[in-house]
């Protein structure tokens, strides 16, 4: 019976790992699309002259922005997103190895379970 319980416990853990994994994948996709958007904005900033007028949408109004400040702002955001992205990706890798281990464990347990079942017959 303990084998069965063990198997149950392991597969529950596996499911937890999987759900965290897919959540993280989603987060990393969101982050990379944000990164891309910010990089596009940065590129756009670099294309216009220093006398260009930049506005930022704050609530329902467009507020004029200093170009340098806006550029710095976007740069900071890109840095932050990049850091987040590396953190999330590291965790994803970690989870992937954990999942592999777990699935092996589960497989072994299943094999043992089958063995027991055939013996008890």
């Amino acid at each position: 019976m303990s084998l069965e319980k063990n198997l149950e416990k392991e597969s529950l853990e596996m499911r937890k790992l999987q759900s965290e994994y897919s959540k993280l994948i989603e987060t990393s996709q969101q982050l990379s699309s944000q990164l891309q958007e910010n990089e596009l904005v940065q590129k756009e900033f670099s294309l216009v002259g220093s006398d260009a007028k930049i506005y930022k949408m704050i609530g329902p109004v467009l507020v004029p922005q200093d170009k340098e400040e806006a550029g710095l702002n976007v740069e900071k955001r890109i840095e932050y997103i990049k850091a987040e992205l590396t953190r999330v990706e590291a965790r994803i890798k970690e989870l992937a190895t954990l999942q592999e281990k777990k699935s092996l464990e589960i497989y072994n347990l299943q094999m043992k379970f089958k063995e027991q079942a055939t013996i008890s017959k």
Binding site: I25, V41, E44, L62, A70
Partner: protein, 163 residues
């Protein structure tokens, strides 16, 4: 597009022919959902492209002075007549809440660049989808042959298959 790599089975050099039926069918399901997701992304890209081309058309109309009298929506159902006093002064949404003031030719260039960029991505995506579909076809064929072979090898006995 980092999440669209081929499934892990390729990394470990497992031949598709060696996989068991349940493994194959789960792989097929995964392929199916991948394709569905990518197709959705593709239509989103297409939508974005058409939005930008519409913007481009508007800018063109403004630039050619054929559009200087407009109806300004105050609500969904209430409009007032308006006239563009500074037709060469446009404010363009460049993303993440930032807007840039541009003249017509700059705006047109901006939108053309966007459209080109998105079109390239859309083309790439279309290719990926096509590849996935061929892979799926191969997978489905193997699955069918395997299933047929299995049925032949154990015609009557419905015993648990030790595949």
């Amino acid at each position: 597009m980092s999440a669209t790599e081929l499934p892990a089975s390729n990394q470990q050099q497992i031949r598709i022919e060696d996989l068991s039926l349940p493994q194959l069918s789960s792989l097929r399901d995964q392929f199916n959902s991948d394709i569905a997701k990518l197709t959705q992304l593709y239509s989103q890209l297409r939508n974005a492209i058409s939005t930008f081309s519409e913007c481009n058309n508007c800018v063109e109309a403004i630039a050619s002075k054929s559009l200087n009298k407009v109806l300004v929506p105050l609500t969904n159902s209430l409009y007032v007549r308006g006239e563009l006093v500074q037709p060469d002064n446009l404010i363009v949404d460049v993303g993440t809440g930032y807007y840039l003031e541009k003249n017509c030719s700059q705006a047109q260039k901006f939108y053309s660049n966007k459209i080109e960029y998105l079109s390239q991505n859309a083309d790439k995506l279309a290719k990926t989808i096509e590849e996935k579909q061929t892979n799926l076809q191969v997978l489905a064929d193997i699955l069918a042959t395997k299933a047929a072979a299995l049925q032949k090898s154990q015609p009557a006995s419905e015993a648990s298959s030790k595949a």
